[in-house]
Symmetry: C2
Subunit: 489 residues, 2 copies
């Protein structure tokens, strides 16, 4: 064993010695103290050095192997796997991909994660889903696994059509619904259908970076329209329409990501009129309308008289991300092209999951689930509002969203969002620096942070906000009067 490394185990702790040892070894591997393919000390020598039984070492090594930290060679010993690469794969695949691949965001197991809007597993309706899965298998047998139609399993499209009418006053025939494997796929399909290289595409500024990535991947040029408290700036939109003749506007009218702002009813109407006059297609990404804590918010699509809005809805985000299911409404004009794009992309979404989800809707489990989840998130929402009350004294402002899973805080000029992100990360609290959501084609203020409470529990909210406040205070103290304001962009 390397001589300069000291491992201390505490027999008085409530934690088994082998788990203590495994944890310490993990840390050494993660920190690169032990390198790939380096041999760990032999069982006997380490047991002797640490003054524990051989079996403690054996168990610790076994645990490390199960968790992918080491591998063993028969008769030779235990060796380190290449952890730098393997750990980089441990990222969770949620909407924060951009942060992660750019190296901004890295999560450890102890982090308090205010970056993710994904729900916590305790909220998933496991029993209900198990019930519908079994029912589908008993009812459909082998048929549950045949190729469904490209546009989706017929009965599911029927139940979604009813669902839209009952819940959102949206009147769409089943034949105009395209089933997709989650919201991101909807964005990708529309990019494939609508964008030619060099086309202009409008987005809100700031916006969801996963959409921008999909549009850019098709060679689109992205124009950001400033997002205001009550929706995008329509004057700017008008100006840009004449300049660029865009293929479409991508928008999230309710609880927009990342700003959490919702369009006012007036702006929704004006936007639709403007779109109709200019023959501008609107892609409405509705991932959050269901999570209203006060008045019910209807999708833009419910007001769309001219079939100008292509509506994408994901069932994954606030139901069960591992499901990968959603739908979009297809205007007559693009029907065939979207089917072709879907076929080229993945032939069809899982017919089995579609059959199960159809039953899930029909049994009314979805509505029950939404209500349960909403109650839980509303409590967290109220708690985090209370906890950040102190932030005011640092000149940190925000607009209450009254829905959704995030807060969007504007920082004063003397606290940089990147510095605050770094300071928090050093204290194992992950927040998202707002800068990364902005398109850099206009001089927007970008000094924001986003705090999401989808993945944190109440205890973590209290603890985490406290850590953030300390970090703010530290940065404030360090900056003081002698630091001048330097704009970030």
């Amino acid at each position: 064993m390397k001589n300069n490394i000291i491992i201390q185990l505490d027999k008085n702790l409530n934690k088994s010695l082998y788990i203590q040892l495994a944890d310490k070894l993990k840390k050494l591997i993660e920190d690169g103290v032990f390198q790939k393919d380096e041999k760990l000390p032999s069982i006997r020598s380490l047991a002797k050095k640490l003054e524990v039984n051989n079996i403690t070492i054996v168990n610790a090594y076994k645990l490390l192997e199960q968790e992918g930290y080491v591998y063993s060679k028969k008769g030779s010993g235990t060796y380190v796997k290449r952890q730098d690469e393997d750990l980089s794969l441990n990222y969770l695949a949620d909407e924060n991909m951009e942060l992660m691949t750019s190296g901004i965001l890295s999560l450890s197991k102890n982090s308090i994660n205010f970056a993710s809007v994904s729900p916590t597993p305790e909220l998933f309706p496991v029993e209900e889903f198990k019930q519908v899965l079994i029912e589908v298998l008993d009812r459909d047998k082998g048929k549950a696994f045949v190729y469904p139609e490209i546009n989706g399993y017929g009965p599911l499209r029927e139940s979604i059509s009813c669902f839209l009418k009952d819940n959102y006053y949206i009147d769409i025939e089943a034949s105009k619904i395209q089933i997709i494997s989650g919201g991101q796929q909807g964005i990708d399909l529309l990019a494939k259908t609508l964008i030619q290289p060099g086309d202009y595409v409008f987005v809100e500024n700031p916006t969801y970076s996963g959409a921008v990535a999909a549009f850019e991947s098709r060679g689109a040029k992205i124009i950001g329209i400033p997002m205001e408290h009550d929706g995008i700036n329509l004057d700017e939109l008008k100006k840009y329409i004449d300049m660029y003749h865009p293929k479409f506007l991508y928008t999230m009218p309710n609880y927009q990501s990342p700003t959490t702002y919702s369009y006012s009813e007036e702006k929704k109407k004006e936007l639709l009129d403007l779109a109709h006059k200019n023959d501008l297609y609107i892609i409405e990404d509705d991932f959050m309308s269901d999570l209203s804590y006060t008045d019910k918010k209807l999708p833009l699509k419910s007001m769309d008289k001219y079939d100008q809005v292509i509506y994408i809805k994901s069932f994954s985000k606030i139901l069960m991300p591992g499901l990968r299911l959603g739908f979009l409404t297809t205007p007559e004009k693009f029907f065939r092209d979207i089917i072709k794009a879907k076929h080229t992309t993945d032939i069809s979404s899982s017919g089995f999951i579609q059959r199960a989800f159809d039953l899930f809707l029909r049994e009314n489990f979805w509505k029950q689930h939404i209500e349960r989840v909403k109650k839980d998130y509303n409590e967290k929402y109220k708690l985090i509002l209370k906890e950040i009350n102190n932030f005011k004294k640092y000149n940190i402002n925000f607009k209450k969203p009254d829905g959704g899973l995030s807060l969007w805080l504007e920082l004063p000029s003397d606290i940089s969002c990147i510095e605050l992100y770094n300071e928090c990360a050093n204290n194992d609290v992950i927040i998202v620096p707002g800068e990364i959501f902005f398109i850099d084609n206009n001089n927007s203020k970008t000094n924001f942070i986003r705090l999401s409470f989808g993945s944190v529990n109440k205890k973590q909210i209290v603890e985490g906000i406290n850590v953030i406040e300390n970090c703010i205070a530290k940065l404030k103290g360090g900056n003081d009067e002698n630091t001048k304001f330097i704009p970030l962009i």
Copy 2:
């Protein structure tokens, strides 16, 4: 009721009167005799006219409504749905999309379908899959539905790594495996990662049209390399490499689609050498290696010393298409780009299905399933070989594939594959005219038909081949000596 329409029901038949009536009405709707939104006769008037009970009409209308042919308005009556549109959606989403959107292929419920390679539902391992689903839900609870890693659920990548070693002698670490939602998505991801507009891409000629569509959607120019009985023509390949410097070659080395030909071992070796010398990437689409009826065929990837082969494997095609699951192996160089493309495409494949399939592999159900399926298909293979024995006398030739789910028949110049397709379709037998699989950049012979036996049962094989033979004889008779050979391209 329209006066010129006669519906006859037969009380002596073994079939309920209401089903007989529903069938006849369906036909009238499909044929456009009843138009969209046209009112069907009232229950009483039709009952009187047909001399049956009212309840017979009620039941028939109810059945039609369930099957999407009609809708009812309370207090008003029963109306025809727009069947022209709805029926066009009834296409099965398998690999024959191109045929269907181009209007070449349309299936009715009575057709004998030699066009599809999809397996019949009776072969699906429903009970085994139910078992693993329940086990996953009981074991992982809500966790079964969280976002998996973008590249795939870790334990599944581990079991696939073992699976590749045990079954195909392919040695790939779990960290180099990317889970995908079926083979087509693998093709789409690689197109996104590797192709810039204007790039050249090589394919076998003929080839799978779904791959060509994905490459073209990214702006690639497609060059077809002639496919021979033992693999592509390597001299042509060499020539074209120097001319076009392609991004990659897309190939199906075992039981190629549509030709059913497999590469000889020598050609596999030569191809790999050639690829290595010219730094040519090879995309190996392996959807069929498992279905060998004689000697075991190994993937090209098993001989790949230089990491020149990107290997795509679908678990959907011969397991359960409704599952949408597969994987690809990612060369180090493209690792990050493929992860990004996957994220932009659909964030990740269903974590729930991945967990279930992981268990399915670990419980050894996959191997048992392959063996069962292989036995069944081998019997059908032998039967169809026997049945088409007569075709020889019409100068129809083919090479025995000894694996897979199709035969590729070369027609003599005096029978056009399109005419034969049409003649068969008129007799409710669906075959695939070979022409549609060819890239038109060289003067290949294209006068082939493909007969697949994935979706037909033994009775249908005997009946269907008999129909095809009659159609051939008819065309032969009609063409006679006075028809000259006119090349198709």
